[in-house]
Symmetry: C2
């Protein structure tokens, strides 16, 4: 099996109440690839970077079975850069700088060798580009998952966003975005509306409050692990999505029941991500680390009630 | 087995985005008694009301096996009254009026027939009164559970609150209160500190985001049920506590594993409470309603992962 993801590979500079970083490697596709690489091989990335990018970081990804040939390197250009500062609650942040740079001319071209990937995970980019990716695939992947954000729910993009939504199986957004997209405050009502817009599965990410998976009239809830310290939440949502898709790809099962498991694995990966700045923690995981963490999730929610 | 609770029996006037009420019956002990009555008999209440109180409401409680002899009726005085308005998110509210009335002279006297109750649930009242209740019991109950709130964590009361905490087994507070009481933002760190203050069990209520139970190094998470509509959250925390204690009392088991079950039952009861104004929904439940709701909680979080 194989996973194809399209998204940013970039530089971030992050301030949290616990410290700050210089430019470090970030971007949705980076987090997705690191996370998915623990389950799925190959993970195929389509992205764009400038020649200022630290190419050693791509070596590290390749050592984990990630195929980086789909990352276009623009000579003489700079990589996408984002800088932000988190508040004490880590749920809100201020953007300090956004330099689109190479992202302004991103035109995702899917290499032929990626075209039969089993799962497509569209990272959070312009829905016009997400659509372009889908249209390049001669065979529809077994599962198409999309991330997006509030910025693409504004007038200039919402039409195209709806077009993409009609072509995907799973959409993953946060609670505020679900409310904005549906115009409903209640997440249950929001989910019902969004599930009429195209996707058959909706994941609502609630950060430290866990995640909900909606499908038809069914709903599944996965908690977030209560952590002593959330050090840096950057990339947690992408890490979650990467783990979710990677697990589905590895287990070759896209049933609702297996998606529940995949959400637990995605949540486990996200819980590692926030322990250190950037992708640092994701670079040093072992298979046992992940299984132990999943065990913590099982213990966290397990109870036995025998109904009469 | 038997449950003793001490707390307010009162009038509320509530505004939510969905409507508003005139004076309706409320108060922590009222919600606790209605909720616990589905599990435990008798439920013994100690409280105080004025002669303006609708005595038919006490008849209704008695019909459910609640002993109301411990509710003192002050002739010529008015019952405690609270009025509030909820915001759209239902997590925040403005208090419009607080008329303490009979609460100003509340001096809880435990009737002899209540003195051997198996479980004591101290509703959210002045810690001086909570202490007075504990001191009147010749034999320590098998389990002492306390609720409290931020108001009692201020300079004038915090010393007494700590005194009460040293005498209880379980404390149930919300996330903001846990942060205030501990001075820690991380709930895991907050829990570690609070568990050194007396209680061996800490329940942190997170409203629509569920509840956490901490004990030693163990933690259990119970989700809230995702609801189409939260109609009126008043009393949800008390209903939760009543269901939690009622279930423990009925099942005669105060182990950590059984507390997990009790939290699910408490959460189920709270999910009914918010469906209508005041205690309305709690008055019409059947045993089957409750079991069906608990089944929804099981389905909501159940997954099967077999670790290698």
């Amino acid at each position: 099996m194989s996973l194809l993801t399209v998204g940013t590979v970039a530089y971030d500079a992050i301030e949290t109440p616990f410290g700050k970083t210089d430019k470090i490697v970030g971007g949705a596709a980076t987090y997705i690839a690191w996370s998915a690489s623990y389950f799925s091989k190959p993970v195929n990335i389509v992205s764009v970077i400038g020649d200022d990018f630290d190419m050693h970081e791509l070596d590290l990804l390749r050592q984990r079975g990630v195929d980086t040939d789909g990352i276009e390197i623009k000579q003489g250009k700079k990589s996408f850069f984002w800088s932000g500062r988190y508040h004490l609650d880590m749920n809100s942040r201020d953007t300090l700088a956004t330099e689109l740079n190479v992202l302004l001319e991103f035109n995702p071209i899917i290499p032929d060798k990626y075209k039969n990937s089993d799962i497509l995970l569209l990272g959070n980019i312009d829905p016009n580009l997400q659509l372009k990716v889908i249209e390049q695939l001669p065979v529809r992947p077994k599962l198409v998952v999309m991330d997006t954000m509030n910025f693409w729910m504004t007038e200039a993009f919402i039409g195209k966003l709806h077009e993409v939504m009609k072509k995907v199986d799973v959409i993953a957004i946060n609670d505020a975005e679900a409310r904005q997209l549906s115009g409903e405050y209640s997440l249950v009502k929001a989910a019902k509306k969004i599930l009429t817009m195209g996707p058959r599965y909706l994941i609502i990410k609630k950060g430290e409050h866990g995640a909900l998976l909606f499908h038809g009239n069914e709903v599944f809830f996965a908690p977030a692990l209560p952590l002593e310290e959330v050090f840096d939440p950057t990339g947690a949502g992408d890490t979650f999505a990467g783990g979710f898709c990677g697990y589905l790809d590895k287990s070759r099962d896209i049933s609702f029941d297996n998606m529940k498991r995949a959400i637990i694995y995605g949540s486990a990966m996200a819980s590692f991500c926030v322990e250190k700045f950037g992708t640092e923690r994701l670079k040093t995981l072992t298979h046992k680390d992940i299984e132990d963490r999943v065990k913590e999730f099982i213990d966290l929610v397990q109870f036995d009630i025998i109904l009469e």
